[in-house]
Symmetry: C2
Subunit: 316 residues, 2 copies
Amino acid sequence: MKLDERHLIQLAAVVQAGGVTEGAAMLGLTQPAVSRTLAMLEKRLGEPLFVKGRRPLQPTPLGRALADHGQAMLVAARKASSLVDGFRHGRTGVVRVGGTPFFMDALISGMIAEFQNAAPDVRIEQSYGYLPDLRAAIDADRIDLAICPIDVLDEGSGMRFQELLPGRNVVACRVTHPLLLKRKLAPAELLDYPWIAPPSGSPLFADLHSLVLSLGATEAKIRYSGGSLVSAINYLKASDALTILPHSVVFAYRNDKSITALPVNIPHPERALGLLRRTEEIRVPAVEAFCAHIRKSFEDLRHLIKRHEQAVIWSL
Amino acid sequence: MKLDERHLIQLAAVVQAGGVTEGAAMLGLTQPAVSRTLAMLEKRLGEPLFVKGRRPLQPTPLGRALADHGQAMLVAARKASSLVDGFRHGRTGVVRVGGTPFFMDALISGMIAEFQNAAPDVRIEQSYGYLPDLRAAIDADRIDLAICPIDVLDEGSGMRFQELLPGRNVVACRVTHPLLLKRKLAPAELLDYPWIAPPSGSPLFADLHSLVLSLGATEAKIRYSGGSLVSAINYLKASDALTILPHSVVFAYRNDKSITALPVNIPHPERALGLLRRTEEIRVPAVEAFCAHIRKSFEDLRHLIKRHEQAVIWSL
DNA sequence: TATTTAATATACCTGATTGCTATGAAGCTC
DNA sequence: GAGCTTCATAGCAATCAGGTATATTAAATA
């Protein structure tokens, strides 16, 4: 016996409300509509759903049992509705974000936490990678967006790039580093200290190479490599080693007061940190909201950096 | 956002089946119908439910989440359907049966067990009472049927009566009772022994009274009263007391070989055990099936009694 | 790469169903 | 029994769900 789901829901509402009129109102329908539905149901079933002639409308056992199933449908329908509403406002869903390890660890993870304070029902699936992998992942729809440094985006790739921060690297060291005591720092002195190599394959690795070249050398004294950001920072804290890091990453650790940037200018890369997405991406509100949050966060970060630097200048 | 339940179910079927065509088939619909439903859904939501251009049809996160809710509705709908089917064949439901204690305990309880061997999903709610209570209970729709002795049913009461067994009482005693040894049993001797009184209010109680009167006395030596059937039987087994019982009840205990009926004729009541129901009862299949089973069981019982008595005659 | 094949989308039509308003019938309350 | 509330019925308009036929698209194969 095939039953119309709508009918069962109306039945459930009536049983729950204890009357046709109220049940109809609960569903935003008129009483005659629901009344007819019940009459049709009874006719089709050949069985009554309510005992006749009792005013506090009393369901038969069958009526009650069917109403229970209708109730299940009703709650499913409600849940589906609220799911859609949540989804539309970006309050629900999944965002798959990929990015380069250092930025993700230093900056993005915290921004994700902030985002989820406002949108707790959006799940974030993070993954790591560098530009080629990330592009492939976006193409294959394994991630919704990537956050990574990028120099130039070839047109027609179906990708959209939005800059978040200009590229700017610094040489990082611990706050007790001897070079910080020098009144005047000769760039060549950098080569006197051991270096931590950024992950191979990362843009930073290439930047380190060109830095070394600009210093007139062919290679630095690489003593440690392969570690994640935390490993590098910890190593940095415990030694006089140097490494190259994005300025924003060092900035993010400013409250630690354990690492800082050397006051030495190094060539900044022709590259900016940015948001990479498909242009013809199906507009997933949660993803939109997340991207908006990330952009907002970086904008705030830019201002913060600017204010911070002015403060430093003032204090000099 | 209001969503049509039917649409969600179709979505669920498609997601589950992994294709529109198969999903449609699963629901007994054609492919275009379901295809259009999905298109409409996507249009209304403003969000895609499936990622385009992939043949092993792949739902978007939203599509999958909505399909889950649709799945819930689908199982509810299936359950409702099977509920109705079960109900129509009397395989599901509740039967509320009232009856006089002795018959219920001695005969009906066993028949209920047999019935449920065939219809395990029908719940039986048993209650006790005598005719006036039972009639009131039927009227108030507290029970679906009553099984009790009844003499005459006034017309126009909205009740229907179906005879199950003719009224026939016997004097019961334990198998080692001294009166059973007597070659010829004078009815007056019955009064020499102590008696167990049936529950006050029961027809049997009235029968005992008229039996005593027919023996020329005004009252028997009542030593025990108020007990249920089991109490009475146990008392009977442990003493030379007598009591009046329906023949069928004593018959039901024949395999116990602990109580029996005295070979003495006593007036049988103008009353028959029967099934009492409302005439305009809404036809609940489970109730119908149960009544049919009860009538069948009593018919079998009648034959059994007849065969049993013939065997007894042969053996004499 | 061209061709075939399977699956999905679209177009169009019909009948059923839903929703409404208006109104009659039936219970409950006092 | 009067008045009030609630349920049932009738009639009507609009929508929608379902069907068949067909175009389009994506996958599979040569």
